[in-house]
C-alpha cells in the first residue's frame, strides 16, 4: 500500500513547536563550544618590565617597617680558661711610659734609709719572678701603666725594713718573732705592704711562705678529704697544699736548694736519703699531691729546726728566718662552702691548712717560739673582698685593746654585744697570751691609713716623671689631691693620678 504522503512532502512538514530562542551567550567559552583546548593555555598577558613597578608608587601610602638589626653572630665562645687567664693576667710593664731616671731598686742598704721616705723604690727585675711565684701582685693594682713596678716608701715600710734588717743581721734581735695583723680601709695599701715585706725578705734571703688569697681555700674550688681515719672531722686540701709547696719552692729555690734535711720523717711514704735537699723534699709533695700535706709538715719542721737530729750533723746549716704572709683573712673566719658527709657546712677552722696558719698566731709550745729562727707573720685583712664577720671585728678590737694595755680583766675590754652569738672559735683564734719565750712577740694590730702629704707628693711626682701626668705638680695641687683621696688613701691617689681631667688654664 502506498502512503498518501510523498516522502518529500513529509520532509517539508513544518515542525510541531518553534525552536526555543536562547539568549546569546556572553562567554567566549560558550561561543567557542567546539574548542577542546583549555583557555589557560593561551598566551599569558605580558608582564611589565621590571624596575618600573618595584617599590611603592609615588604618593601611595606605605606602612612603616622597622629594620631589624642583624645580630652579629658570636662564632664560638673562647676556650675554657681563656677569660679567667685574661682576668688574672698581671702586666708589670708599659713600654710606652718613660723610665724614671734616678729610681733606686730596693736593696739591703736602702730599705732602712729613712732619707728615702716618700720616694719610689723599684722592685729588682730578677726578683719579679719570685714575687710572681708567690702571687704578690694582684691584677687591679695598676702596675701596668708604669715602665717597671715600684712602690712608695712610706713610714710603715721603713719601720718594716728596720725590723727585717734587725732580725736578719743584728745579734740582739736574732730569733725575734713579730706577729701582726694588717688592717685598714680600702685602698690603703695592705696588700702592697705585704708585697714590700716579701721583697725585703727576698733581699735578705729569707724563706717566704704566702697564702695570696684566703678565699681560694674556702670556696670549694679545690679537692678536700678527711685527714685520716682517726680525725674524720678535720679536712685536708691536697691540691691547695701542693700549690702552696709549688709557690714556696719556686720563690725560694735558691735558699731551699742549699739546705739539707736534718731528721727522719716517718710520716712520709718512703724514707728520705741523708743528703736530700729541702727543695727535693718539697718536690715530692708537688709530684704526688696525695702526700702533699705530710710533705708540707716535714718541710715546716725542717724550716723551723734549730738543731739537727743525731746523725744528721754533717750537712746541717742554720735555717733562715721566715716571712709568712696571708691576705684576705676574713674568709677563714666563717663556714666554708665545703660539706661534711652529713651535708653540713664545714667551718674554716676545721681545714687543716687553715688550722696550721692560724696556730702560728698563738705562742709556741715546748719552750720554743712558732718560728724559732725568727721571722715575721703578716696577716692582712681585705676591705674590698671581705665578708662581714662580727666575731672577727670583736676579736680585732680585742687585739688592739691588749696592745693598748687594756687586759681582759679590765671593764673596758671589748666584749661582743648581748645576743649577738659570736663565733667562739674566731674569738679564741686571736686570743694570744704572752709567750714564755722572750723573743716571741704577742699578736699586734697594725692599721694602715693614708700616706702623708710629703709621701703623696713623691707619688704624684712619680706619675709626672713617668710621663703619665701632664700637669705641674705643685704643693697646692698635691694637697688638693691628698684631700680628695680621703686623706692620702693611696689607692685613691693612684686613681686621681691616672685620671685625665682638663688641665687648669692659667
Amino acid at each position: 500500500m502506498v502512503s498518501s504522503f510523498c516522502w518529500s512532502c513529509l520532509t517539508r512538514l513544518p515542525t510541531a513547536s518553534p525552536r526555543p530562542m536562547l539568549p546569546p551567550t556572553l562567554t567566549a567559552q560558550r561561543v567557542a563550544a567546539f574548542h577542546t583546548s583549555s583557555p589557560l593555555m593561551a598566551m599569558p598577558p605580558k608582564k611589565k618590565a621590571p624596575g618600573q613597578q618595584q617599590g611603592p608608587k609615588h604618593r601611595t601610602a606605605t606602612t612603616f617597617k622597622m629594620k631589624k638589626r642583624k645580630a652579629t653572630d658570636r662564632v664560638r665562645p673562647p676556650p675554657v680558661g681563656e677569660r679567667r687567664a685574661l682576668r688574672k693576667r698581671i702586666v708589670l710593664s708599659n713600654p710606652n711610659a718613660l723610665e724614671v731616671a734616678d729610681m733606686q731598686d730596693i736593696s739591703a742598704e736602702n730599705m732602712v734609709d729613712s732619707r728615702l721616705r716618700g720616694s719610689i723604690l723599684g722592685l729588682p727585675v730578677p726578683m719579679l719572678d719570685q714575687l710572681r711565684a708567690v702571687q704578690a701582685f694582684k691584677p687591679k693594682q695598676g702596675w701596668s701603666i708604669f715602665r717597671r713596678p715600684g712602690t712608695v716608701t712610706r713610714r710603715e715600710t721603713l719601720e718594716l725594713g728596720r725590723l727585717i734588717d734587725g732580725i736578719s743581721d743584728k745579734p740582739e734581735d736574732k730569733g725575734k718573732v713579730v706577729k701582726r695583723i694588717v688592717t685598714g680601709p680600702r685602698g690603703t695599701g695592705k696588700t702592697v705592704h705585704l708585697l714590700q715585706a716579701m721583697s725585703m725578705a727576698f733581699t735578705k734571703e729569707w724563706v717566704v711562705v704566702t697564702v695570696p688569697e684566703c678565699q681560694d681555700l674556702v670556696l670549694a674550688n679545690t679537692s678536700y678529704a678527711p685527714l685520716s681515719e682517726k680525725n674524720p672531722n678535720v679536712y685536708v686540701q691536697n691540691q691547695a697544699t701542693a700549690a702552696l709547696l709549688s709557690r714556696t719552692v719556686t720563690a725560694n729555690q735558691k735558699v731551699l736548694s742549699k739546705l739539707k734535711v736534718s731528721r727522719e720523717h716517718p710520716a712520709l711514704k718512703s724514707p728520705l736519703k741523708r743528703d736530700t735537699t729541702l727543695e727535693a723534699l718539697a718536690n715530692l709533695g708537688i709530684q704526688d699531691p696525695a702526700s702533699a700535706w705530710p710533705v708540707f709538715q716535714a718541710l715546716w719542721t725542717e724550716l723551723t729546726a734549730t738543731s739537727p737530729a743525731p746523725g744528721f750533723e754533717k750537712d746541717f746549716a742554720s735555717r733562715p728566718p721566715m716571712l709568712v704572709a696571708v691576705d684576705g683573712l676574713a674568709h677563714w673566719m666563717k663556714e666554708t662552702k665545703y660539706r661534711t658527709a652529713k651535708y653540713e657546712l664545714i667551718h674554716a677552722h676545721d681545714l687543716v691548712f687553715v688550722q696550721h696558719f692560724l696556730s702560728l698566731l698563738k705562742p709556741g709550745n715546748n719552750q720554743q717560739s712558732v718560728l724559732p729562727n725568727g721571722g715575721i707573720l703578716l696577716y692582712a685583712t681585705s676591705a674590698s673582698n671581705s665578708p662581714s664577720i662580727y666575731s672577727l671585728d670583736v676579736a680585732l678590737e680585742r687585739v688592739a685593746a691588749r696592745q693598748n694595755r687594756v687586759y681582759p680583766s679590765s671593764p673596758d675590754y671589748p666584749m661582743p654585744t648581748a645576743f649577738s652569738h659570736p663565733d667562739e672559735r674566731v674569738l679564741a683564734a686571736f686570743e694570744s697570751p704572752k709567750s714564755s719565750v722572750p723573743t716571741e712577740g704577742t699578736l699586734t694590730l697594725q692599721t694602715l691609713a693614708g700616706i702623708s702629704r710629703e709621701e703623696a707628693r713623691g707619688f704624684m711626682e712619680y706619675f709626672a716623671r713617668s710621663g703619665l701626668l701632664r700637669q705641674q705638680v705643685s704643693e697646692e695641687w698635691v694637697n688638693e689631691k691628698w684631700t680628695l683621696a680621703g686623706g692620702g688613701v693611696i689607692g685613691e691617689l693612684e686613681k686621681l693620678g691616672r685620671r685625665l681631667t682638663v688641665p687648669v688654664q692659667v
Binding site: 609615588h58 604618593r59 652579629t72 658570636r74 662564632v75 665562645p77 673562647p78 677569660r83 702586666v91 708599659n94 713600654p95 710606652n96 711610659a97 718613660l98 701596668s144 701603666i145 710621663g467 703619665l468 701632664r470 691616672r498 685620671r499 685625665l500 681631667t501 682638663v502 688641665p503 687648669v504 688654664q505
Partner: protein, 367 residues
C-alpha cells in the same frame, strides 16, 4: 663699696681738736673699747654707739621739738626743760672754741654702763642680762669673727701714742670690718672670676671624652661607661705606637712614639681624622618628578665627631672579643693604623658628597 656709716660724725670732731678735754678722753676710751669685740661687751661703743645716739635723738621728744620749724605762738613756747635750761646756762658760762658743750652727759645722754660703774647699788639691781654681760666681759668669741684679730693694723693700733692717730686707725679698721661683714660666711677670699674650667665638676673632663663616654653608654649606665672609657684610655696608653698607613693619614700631630703617652690627644686625633666633613641628605621634590636628590650638607665639629664615634662603635661590633671596651679600644687603634671600616664609610660619604655638589644648584634655583 661705700661705708655704711659716716666716718666723721659729730663725736669725732672735738676729739681731733682738743684731745685733753673730757669729751676727748671719753672718745679715746671708746677706741680701746672698739678694739675689743662688741658682741659680748656690755658697753656699746665707738661709732656704732654714736650712730645709735643720733637715732635716739631724732626720735626723742625734747630734741625734736627744738628743731621743729614753723611759727610759734606766744603761748606755745613754754619754759624749757630743767636740764635744757642748765645746758643753756653752761653753754653761756663756759663756752668752747668749737661752740660745743662742756658736759658730755648733757650732750649725748649718759650710757647706762657709766651709771652702773659709778653706782654700786644700781649695779646690784641691774637686770640679769646686763649683770651677765658685765661678768663675762672676757667671754669667748665665735670662731667666725676671729679673722679680725689677725688683721695687722688692729694689732699695731695698740702701739699708737697719739690718740688722734689711733682714732683714725680705729675708724678705718671699723670700716674695714663693716665691709667684711657685707660678705657673711666667707672665711677665705672669694674665688676670682672668671672661674677656671675645672672649677665646675661637670666640665672637668675634656669635651670629646664626655661625648665618647656618653655614646659608649648602654642602658643608661653612665658609671659603667666611665669605667669603659678609662679602660680605653689605659689601652691607648699601653698599646704600642700605631704604624700609620700613608693612604689614610691621621691629622698632623706629634710623632708616633709620643702618642700613647698622651692618650687624650691620641684619641682626639683618631676621631677627628675619621670624622666626615659632610653628610648626605636625600632631598625629594627639588629636581621634579619625585626623584630624591643627594645633597651634601656640612657638619659642625660635634656632629662630625658624633658620626665618627658611631662608625667606630659599629665597626667594633664585628670584633670577636667579649669585652665591649676592649673591642672599642682595639677598633680605635685600628683606625689609627688605617685598617678600620670607619675609613671606608668616610670615603664613601665623601665620594657621594663630591658627586652631589652639582645638586646644590637645585637648592639655589628654588630660592
Amino acid at each position: 663699696m661705700p661705708p655704711r656709716l659716716n666716718l666723721f660724725t659729730a663725736r669725732a670732731v672735738p676729739a681731733l681738736c682738743q684731745p685733753s678735754t673730757a669729751a676727748a678722753r671719753r672718745s679715746i676710751a671708746t677706741i680701746w673699747n672698739a678694739n675689743r669685740p662688741s658682741t659680748t661687751n656690755g658697753v656699746k661703743s665707738g661709732l656704732s654707739a654714736s650712730a645709735q645716739m643720733t637715732k635716739r635723738w631724732n626720735s626723742s621728744g625734747s630734741d625734736g621739738k627744738e628743731k621743729s620749724e614753723g611759727f610759734k605762738g606766744p603761748t606755745e613756747d613754754p619754759l624749757p626743760h630743767v636740764s635744757e635750761e642748765a645746758a643753756e646756762v653752761s653753754k653761756i658760762m663756759d663756752k668752747r672754741c668749737d661752740g660745743g658743750v662742756s658736759s658730755p652727759e648733757l650732750e649725748q645722754g649718759t650710757p647706762i654702763s657709766e651709771i652702773l660703774q659709778r653706782d654700786k647699788n644700781a649695779q646690784k639691781h641691774a637686770p640679769k642680762v646686763m649683770q651677765d654681760q658685765m661678768k663675762n666681759q672676757s667671754g669667748k668669741r665665735s670662731f667666725s669673727t676671729s679673722a679680725r684679730r689677725m688683721q695687722p693694723e688692729l694689732e699695731k693700733s695698740a702701739d699708737f701714742d697719739d690718740a688722734s692717730a689711733a682714732l683714725v686707725a680705729n675708724m678705718v679698721s671699723q670700716v674695714n670690718a663693716q665691709a667684711a661683714e657685707l660678705h657673711p660666711g666667707l672665711k677665705f677670699d672669694a674665688p676670682s672670676k672668671p672661674l677656671g674650667k675645672t672649677d665646675n665638676f661637670r666640665s672637668r673632663y675634656d669635651g670629646l671624652l664626655e661625648q665618647l663616654t656618653k655614646q659608649l653608654m648602654r642602658d643608661g649606665k653612665l658609671s659603667r661607661a666611665y669605667k669603659d672609657m678609662s679602660f680605653i684610655l689605659d689601652h691607648l696608653r699601653t698599646s704600642p705606637p700605631p704604624n700609620r698607613n700613608p693612604r689614610r693619614p691621621l691629622l698632623p700631630g706629634p710623632p708616633n712614639a709620643q702618642l700613647p703617652l698622651n692618650p687624650l690627644l691620641y684619641l682626639t686625633l683618631i676621631i677627628d681624622s675619621v670624622a666626615p666633613l659632610v653628610k648626605i641628605r636625600q632631598q625629594k621634590g627639588i629636581a621634579g618628578g619625585g626623584a630624591a636628590v643627594q645633597i651634601p650638607v656640612p657638619l659642625a665639629l660635634r656632629q662630625r665627631r658624633r658620626t665618627a664615634i658611631r662608625w667606630i662603635i659599629d665597626a667594633s661590633d664585628k670584633r670577636r672579643d667579649s669585652n665591649f671596651a676592649m673591642r672599642v679600644a682595639q677598633e680605635l687603634v685600628s683606625v689609627a693604623e688605617g685598617r678600620s671600616g670607619a675609613w671606608d664609610r668616610r670615603e664613601m660619604v665623601h665620594k657621594l658628597g663630591v658627586a652631589g655638589r652639582s645638586n646644590l644648584g637645585y637648592l639655589m634655583n628654588r630660592r
